[in-house]
C-alpha cells in the first residue's frame, strides 16, 4: 500500500506587484487620504503584512461623493451605447488580467486559488459582460420609460467575494447610468484598488467610479452623506439594520443583502453520492464564508446514518492549506476576528450537546485556519442551528416528513437560500414552493449566473442583484 502525497503546486505570485501603500481612487486619480491615516492589510494565510490602505475620513468621503456627482454630469450625457462600450471594455480588461486578480484575491483574502481562478474571476467578467449588454436596452425592458437612475450610489461590500461583490455592485449601477462611491471591506481592499487601474485603462470618465478604503466608520460616513442617492450594502444583518435606521426618513434608496442560515434538505430518495458532494460544496465552498451557504443540513431520518458516514469520509479528503496551492480545497479564514467568532460558536455548540466531528488534516502554523467541521445530534434550538457561523461548520438536523422539513427550514430569521435534494421532480416543486428563500437550488448548490436574480427574504435583506430584477435596484420611478 502506498501513501501518495501530492507535491506542492504553487501558483506563482510574481504576476502581482503589491505597492507598499495605496491611495484612494477619486475623480479618476489616485489621491492620498486627507486623513493621512492608513490601515494594514495582511495575508490571512501567513499573517504577513501585504500593504497599507487609506483609512478615509469625512473629507475623503466628501471629495469622493463630490467627484461622483461631477462624474454623473458626464456619465448621464453619454448615450446608453457609449456606456455599454465602457462596460464591455472593463469586462475584457478583467479577463486579460484575470490571473493577476485571482492571485491577489487569494493573497489578500485567503481563498483557494482554485476558486478565485475558476469561480470568482470568470463570474466577475461575466457580470460586466452581462450588464454591458443591458445598458443600451433599458428603454425596451419595461412598459414605462419613466425609470431613471438614482444618481450617486454608495456601495459597501464584504470580504468574502471582494472583487465579485464589486462586480455585482458596480456593473448594474453603471449600466443604469449611476455613478458610484465604493468601499471595499477593511480586510480585503486590494483587488478593488487594482480594479481602479482597470477603470483608468478603460478610459472611464473621471468620477464615474470612486473607490475609497477604510473601516466601519468610513462606511457610515458614506451612508450618512447628504448627497448620496442610494446605498447598496452586502454584509451582516447587524450592520444592515444600522444602515436602515440611519436612512429612515431620508429620500435615499436602499438594498440590503445580508446574512443567511440556509437549509439544505436531503430526502431519502435523493441521489445520495451527489447530494454528499452538493452538501460539501454548499458549506465548505470559500471556507463557508458565503451568505447563502447551506449551513443547516436537513436529513431525512431514514438516511441519516448512511449519509453522515459518507459525508465524514468525504470531508476527510478536503485539503486545507496554502491558498496559492492549486490543490487546496479550503484556504484560510479571512481574519482573526472571524476565526474567533467561529471558534466561540463551535464551542457553544459542543457545550449545548452537539456531537462534533472535525477532519484530521494538518493545519499550517501561521495564519488563521479552521478544520472542516460537522455537528450531528443538534436540536433546532441550539445557537449553532440558528446563528450564522460564516465558517466551515455544518450543522445537521433531522426530519421525518416533507412537511416537517419545510417547517424546520423556514424556522429561521433568515431567508436567503435553500437546497432540495430528491430524484423526484414533483417533490422538488412542492418543497421549493413552500420555502421562504430568495434562491432555491434543486439537486445542486451555490450556482450563480449574472442573469439570475439573487437576494433574500426576512432578515436576509431586500432588493435583488443580477438579472433584470437587479437593474431595478438601481432605477427609480420619476415623473
Amino acid at each position: 500500500m502506498v501513501d501518495w502525497q501530492y507535491s506542492e503546486s504553487i501558483e506563482s505570485s510574481d504576476i502581482v506587484s503589491i505597492k507598499k501603500k495605496y491611495s484612494n481612487y477619486i475623480g479618476g486619480k489616485f489621491v492620498e487620504p486627507k486623513s493621512k491615516k492608513y490601515i494594514n492589510t495582511i495575508s490571512p494565510s501567513t499573517e504577513e503584512l501585504l500593504s497599507k490602505v487609506p483609512l478615509s475620513n469625512e473629507q475623503d468621503i466628501n471629495s469622493a461623493v463630490k467627484s461622483a456627482k461631477e462624474g454623473l454630469e458626464v456619465w448621464s450625457k453619454l448615450t446608453p451605447n457609449q456606456r455599454s462600450r465602457y462596460l464591455f471594455k472593463i469586462a475584457r480588461l478583467i479577463q486579460e488580467r484575470s490571473r493577476e486578480f485571482a492571485v491577489l484575491e487569494s493573497l489578500d483574502g485567503g481563498k483557494p486559488i482554485k476558486e478565485s481562478r475558476d469561480f470568482d474571476l470568470p463570474q466577475v467578467a461575466a457580470n460586466f459582460f452581462y450588464f454591458a449588454g443591458w445598458a443600451d436596452k433599458l428603454d425596451l425592458s419595461w412598459a414605462t420609460k419613466s425609470l431613471k437612475p438614482y444618481g450617486v450610489v454608495g456601495q459597501i461590500i464584504p470580504w468574502n467575494f471582494p472583487l465579485l461583490m464589486l462586480a455585482w455592485k458596480i456593473a448594474p449601477a453603471l449600466a443604469t447610468g449611476n455613478t458610484v462611491v465604493l468601499k471595499p471591506a477593511e480586510t480585503t481592499p486590494l483587488t478593488a484598488l487594482l480594479f481602479a487601474e482597470i477603470c483608468e485603462k478603460a478610459g472611464l470618465p473621471s468620477g464615474v467610479v470612486n473607490i475609497v478604503t477604510g473601516d466601519g466608520s468610513t462606511g457610515s460616513l458614506i451612508v450618512n452623506h447628504k448627497d448620496i442617492n442610494k446605498i447598496a450594502f452586502t454584509g451582516s444583518t447587524q450592520v444592515g439594520k444600522l444602515i436602515q435606521k440611519s436612512l429612515a426618513g431620508r429620500d435615499v434608496g436602499l438594498t440590503l443583502e445580508l446574512g443567511g442560515k440556509a437549509a439544505n434538505i436531503v430526502y431519502e430518495d435523493a441521489a445520495i453520492d451527489q447530494a454528499v458532494e452538493g452538501v460539501v460544496n454548499g458549506i465548505f465552498f470559500n471556507q463557508g464564508h458565503v451568505c447563502c451557504a447551506g449551513s443547516r443540513l436537513l436529513l431525512q431520518e431514514s438516511i441519516h446514518d448512511q449519509f453522515v458516514k459518507k459525508l465524514e469520509k468525504r470531508m476527510q479528503s478536503l485539503r486545507v492549506g496554502n491558498p496559492l496551492d492549486k490543490n487546496t480545497d479550503i484556504g484560510a479564514i479571512n481574519s482573526k476576528e472571524q476565526l474567533d467568532k467561529i471558534t466561540s460558536l463551535v464551542n457553544e455548540g459542543v457545550d449545548d450537546g452537539g456531537e462534533l466531528f472535525q477532519t484530521e488534516c494538518e493545519l499550517p502554523g501561521n495564519g488563521f485556519w479552521f478544520r472542516p467541521t460537522l455537528f450531528t445530534n443538534v436540536q433546532p434550538s441550539y445557537s449553532i442551528a440558528r446563528e450564522e457561523i460564516f465558517g466551515p461548520v455544518l450543522t445537521t438536523l433531522t426530519f421525518r416528513t416533507p412537511e416537517e422539513a419545510v417547517e424546520i427550514a423556514n424556522n429561521t430569521e433568515y431567508g436567503l437560500s435553500a437546497g432540495v435534494w430528491t430524484e423526484k421532480g414533483s417533490k422538488i416543486l412542492w418543497t421549493a414552493d413552500r420555502l421562504d428563500a430568495g434562491v432555491v437550488w434543486a439537486n445542486t448548490f451555490n450556482k450563480f449566473d449574472p442573469s439570475s436574480p439573487f437576494g433574500g427574504y426576512k432578515e436576509s435583506g431586500f432588493g435583488r442583484e443580477g438579472g433584470r430584477h437587479g437593474l431595478l435596484s438601481y432605477l427609480k420611478a420619476s415623473s
Binding site: 451527489q274 458532494e277 439537486n443
Partner: protein, 312 residues
Amino acid sequence: MKNMKTSDVLMQWSNVLEMVYESRIDSVGLNERVNSLATRSIKKDSKLEALKMIVTMCDLTTLEGEDTEGKVSQMVAKAIKPNPLDTSVPSVAAVCVYPSLVSVAKEKVQNSNVKVAAVSSYFPSGQVPMESKLLDTKYAIDSGADEIDIVINRKAFLEGDYRKVYDEIVALKEVCQDVHLKTILEVGDLKTYENIRKASLISLAAGSDFIKTSTGKLSIGSSRQACYVMLKSVLDFESMTGIKAGIKVAGGIRDAKDAIRYLVMINEEMGSDWLNPELFRFGASSLLDDVLKQIKKLQTGAYQAGYYFPRG
C-alpha cells in the same frame, strides 16, 4: 485480497435487487465532481510516483485476430522489463491475451511477477450459449491463466433479465474458483450511469473480484465518469459485505495525463488501499509507452523519441 468462495452466499438475491432498484445518480452532479477532480495539479515527485504506480497497474493487452506466438512473446518481454535502459521502471501487472495464447504467455512470463490474464466467455460480445462460455473459460484456466476477464450478458441486461446476468457470473466464478475474476460491464453498451451502477452491483454480488469498464472493442471505452460510478458501487458493496473488490479501466486510456486523473479519483474517493495493482488496473496497449516517455521527461527534462523505447 480476500478470496471468496462461491459457496459463501454474499448477498440474498432480494438484497441485490433492492440495491439495483435504488440506483439513483444525478449526472450533472456526478460530472461536476469528476471534472473538479481532474483539476488536481500533480507535479514533481508525486507525478513520478504516480507514473511508476501506473506501470505496475498496467495489463498490457493484445486482443486481435492477427495475434501470434511471436507477437505475444514480444509483449511479454516488454511487460517484464518495460524499459531495459532504466531498471527503476517496474514490471507491469499482467499481460492480457485470448485463451488460445495463454499457454504461450504463461511460458514466457516464467519467474517474473507478471500475471497472465485471459479474456473469455466469448469476449467481446458474449453472444453464445452458456455452455460455450463455461468451456471457453475452463480452457483458459486449464492453459494456466491467473486471471479471467469475462463480459456480462448485455442482451439479458438490456432486456431487464438481471437474474440471468447474475446467474451467469456466479456460474463462471464457480469455474474460476481461486482464479481472479474480472467482469467487464462494457459501459459503452450500457450508456446510462444508472445502468453502469446496476451492472456493477450485480457483478460484485455475483462474486467478481474486479469489475472492468470495457472490452476496448467499442468506440466508447472507459471514461472517468463510468469509473466514478463503479468505484462508488464498489465502496457501497464494501460497506455492506466488508469485501474490497477491484476496478479495471480499459479502452481509450492513451496517455499518462489521463491515467493520472484516474489515480487521483481512486486516491481521493477510495483511499490508498486501492492504489495497488491488487485492486486497481489499467488495461491498455498504448498507455505504457507514454508513461515511459513521461518518466524519462521528469528524469532528464527532455522528451525522447519513440524509438528509444522497445516495441511490445
